[in-house]
């Protein structure tokens, strides 16, 4: 592997300064970056290790009721925070449906948000990829495209963002807190990840040297706790990226939906917030027809980027199922197989003849 400098930052300012050199990359859990380095896909000259920075590993409740998740909070630690799980069950369900316990214990909040696509062509250094090498072309187009994007893709890139965690964060109007050479700023979560357009090498709103310091969930995000689910369809029961996933939350008032949230995962290069579909839910009573209407709206702009038309119909069905499950209420206990269609109720497993 290429030799690189290793800088252990003692303060945020030190980190930002160290990372302003060309070829620098931030290192946190390393579960994605180190893999990419081993494959020769990322060849940084300098790693700036953030893991010793003080104060970024806290889960805080702010005076206005918002929750701030420090950038270095490990995914596993977040799932074990009972207070957090009570307020944001879909976020925890999403986290628990991803990777493995070992990986979750290493991976960090910001690292999860900043993870790179799993597109096989991005991962193959011999394939042309506009993300890795702007202007080189997209070899995924016309290739093996079963799991590629159906929303928001361009001829320059048809990859998807693979995170589970990000999907409920997008649905719940999370905010990304950033620090960098020009100071602090915030970016709404659902525009933090950039769609490819003709610059797929630009993946997030982060500018050079900037670092994510926290993810903040606004006070109203906890209002969905009672009717909130993450549902993830995958090619095996555990330890697989989503083919398609959905995070939904409903705030019910007197039998009608006061506010509904829908975001889709693994359909686009960003966690896909379906605001038009949400608008259809508002003020309506939950019903199969309403949910189907919302699902159609959520995928209204979808087109296959290859041999993946099935993902569009699958995504519609997941939206309907997730809304149905959410309307029934967040389970009192986390299912044994979080986010899986095989563990929707505590009685899962019993079978009978129809």
């Amino acid at each position: 592997m290429k030799s690189f400098d290793y800088v252990r930052a003692g303060s945020l300012a030190e980190a930002v300064a160290a990372a302003s050199a060309p070829g620098a990359a931030y290192l946190a859990g390393g579960t994605n970056l180190v893999d990419l380095m081993k494959g020769g896909l990322t060849r940084p000259d300098r790693l700036v290790d953030l893991t010793r920075l003080p104060g970024l590993d806290r889960i805080e409740t702010l005076p206005d009721g918002a929750t701030r998740i420090g950038a270095l909070v490990r995914n596993g630690a977040l799932t074990r925070d009972a207070g957090f799980a009570g307020r944001y069950p879909a976020v925890v369900e999403a986290l628990l449906s991803g990777a493995s316990a070992q990986l979750r214990n290493a991976a960090t909040t910001a690292g999860n948000v900043l993870q790179r696509t799993r597109c096989g062509y991005f991962y193959d250094p011999a394939s042309a990829c506009n993300k890795r090498s702007p202007g080189a072309g997209c070899e995924a187009r016309g290739g093996i495209t079963r799991t590629h994007a159906v929303l928001g893709w361009s001829e320059h890139c048809i990859a998807t963002h693979p995170s589970d965690f990000c999907v409920p964060l997008a649905a719940l109007d999370a905010v990304v807190e950033i620090e960098g050479p020009t100071g602090r700023r915030e970016v709404p979560f659902d525009v933090f990840h950039l769609l490819p357009g003709d610059t797929p090498e630009r993946e997030t709103a982060l500018r050079a040297g900037e670092v994510v310091t926290a993810i903040r969930l606004p006070p109203e995000a906890a209002g969905f706790a009672g009717h909130s689910r993450y549902l993830k369809v995958r090619e095996r029961t555990s330890y697989a990226f989503a083919v398609v996933s959905a995070a939904v939350g409903l705030r019910l008032e007197g039998g009608t939906i006061a506010d509904g949230r829908i975001a889709l995962g693994s359909v686009a290069l960003r966690p896909w917030r379906a605001r038009e579909a949400e608008a259809l839910l508002a003020g309506r009573a939950p019903s199969p027809e309403v949910f189907a209407e919302a699902a159609r709206a959520a995928l209204a702009g979808a087109t296959p980027s290859g041999d993946n038309a099935f993902k569009i119909e699958l995504a519609r069905r997941i939206v309907v199922r997730a809304l149905t499950l959410a309307a029934a209420g967040t389970p009192g206990r986390m299912p044994a197989l979080p986010a899986s269609p095989f563990a929707t109720s505590p009685t899962a497993g019993a079978s009978h003849h129809a």
């Binding site: 369809v233 095989f342 129809a354």
Partner: protein
Amino acid sequence: MPERQRHGSSIGLPLTRRDGPDKVTGAARYSADIRPDGLVHAVMATSTIAKGRVTHLDLAAAEAHPGVIAVMTPDNAPPLAKSPDEKDNPFAFRLNLLQDHTVRYAGQPIAVVVATTLEAATEGAALLSPGYESEAPTIGLGEGGIFTPDSVGAGSPTSDGTGDMEAGLAAADARVTATYETAGQYHNPLEPHCSVAEWDGDRLTLHTPSQALWIAKARLAGFFGIPPENIRVVCHYLGGGFGSKGFLSPPQILGIMAAKLTGRPVKLVTRREQMFGPVGHRSPTRQTLTLGATRDGALTALGHHTLSQTSAYDDFFEASGLVARHLYASPAISTTHEGSRADIGTPIFMRAPGEASGSVAVESALDELALALDIDPLDLRLKNYAEVEPITGRPFSSKALRACYAQGAERFGWDRRPRAPRAMRDTDGLLVGWGMGTATYPAGMMQGEARATIRADGTALIETAAQDMGQGAWTVLAQIAADGLGLSLDRVTLRIGDSDLPNGGLAGGSTGTATSGTAVHAAAQAVIAQLADLATTDPASPLYGAGNAGVTASEGRLARRDDPARSERFGDILARAGKPSVAAKGQGAGEPASRKTYAMHAHGAVYAEVKVDPDLGQVRVTRLVGAFAAGRIVNPRLVRSQYEGGMIWGLSLALHEHAAHDRRSGRIVNANLADYHVPVSADLPSIETILVEEHDPHVNPLGIKGVGELGITGTAGAIANAVWHATGVRVREIPITLDKLLT
């Protein structure tokens, strides 16, 4: 619960692995754990094109990288005494060992970088930045032209059959013709292929994972032009082979060449992504089944035609048609194979080579016939139960398949299965389906040899270059030896995994225990006979005059058969004879006459329950029950483990494994374990194995049939049939993925 250890009857005890403590504590040293003094590291650079030639390598950049010692390319690779393309036997597979700049497949080694550290060698390989002259590759099955190979699998005839297919189909009340496809599968044992090679003049010591140490030694002797006795291949522990380590692969030999080039001990370990190409795989197949049957379900015709794929430069054809030659009775059977070539690495044996891919098609087609006839799938199989081997008419040496069907069905609850599909749901509304399939695999034997030594202290040493690749040879060979010697297990030392020991045959083809176990048993008997000879001819022995046939060995003593009170300890016999030890060899091989007379196969029945989400198509196998009969079971615990591993791989074949080639580049897009899926524990919450009693007086003296490959057969078909039963959708393109079930 501690296992009992009974003197004189180790065989049959469910002992835990004797090598288990070493493995869980890390004391067991696998090949890549060996570190000779002065060890340096080698990393392969592999081709990113599938066809053409390498025109440029940036040697200067690689050589200038700190730590790099040498870059081995076709221009400086040590010459070989024999071309790796020379095929003096069908199993001398052609290997790409840097003999020229030609590229035959993506992932082919094109250079090796040697450095003082693994990191430096890795970077050196990356810096080579190869240039190519590239041609458009042929990748798809059947695209490069279709032909009829001379033989398939391990030398099986390309076509075989009996009776008149046309007449059989004409006589049928129901006919099913269906084409099934199976995907390319790539071996991915936990331990990748690797070698630690050390030359001392013209003597080579090689630590490498090998399922066949003597075969490896012979091939290396040819390549390096030295006598086989100059080569020592050592492999005490092997982290999974599954056929890919039966014969040496290019990475293993390139490490030896790099050691020769640099004059240093060299370690070369294949990277995970490099497992997808140079070390073999199972070919994708397209199989057409043509079945005819009378109204009551009796087959009148069974046709099985297979198209598989080999490389552009060598021959190995997945023999999917073998199942139909051995399993079901039909007056007309036709099994044929065709091949095509592609710019890929040569496929090779993978667990149940032929039978695994063939079984899923045969068992699926039988269920399609059962549907057409409205017959229960188990009844259909019983109706066509083969009392003799279908094509040859030979009797089976033993066949407890009926008991397998019955015991498996009872345990599973098969009699409660509704005939119609989509008839069962669970409390969550998930579709539930039940399916079954028949397992079958030949009970073959190779040739092996073992040496048994009884020492004056009353302990024994058993030596054979057999291989434990996880199946349990360390344990079961000791069990067989203990019984043959009349010693408790703790008095028996076993040495295996070293080519300086007598040839132990091949840990493959489900022949390992049958072959080396028979050799161990024979060696034990031979050394006891020598000991008996010493005692019965010595007037000072209480056994004097008993004659060889008149003594038995038990608890470390020889005793008169007719008067067990007259006995003598092994050590006393040797001491009086003034011998420190006595040794003898024994052979293990199939007995030609009985193998000609009898058909020898192991069998089983696998029952599967799946649940399928009716809207989302996601599938989960919630229950597998396998009932298997394979002669004498030396160690039930380890045999269950083998069956379960096989069944899990059957699940993997049915639902998961699929190497996705990009047809433009010829590269495999999912050449990593994140994207190339195998099952995880959550994919199979319940698996049960029933060991069905079977006595086989013909297969070998101990009555042992192999168990390594049986479990994968039957299972994939059972799962495919259960998915149909759950959904009403018959997926003929394996693996069955959720997109194929969205209706």
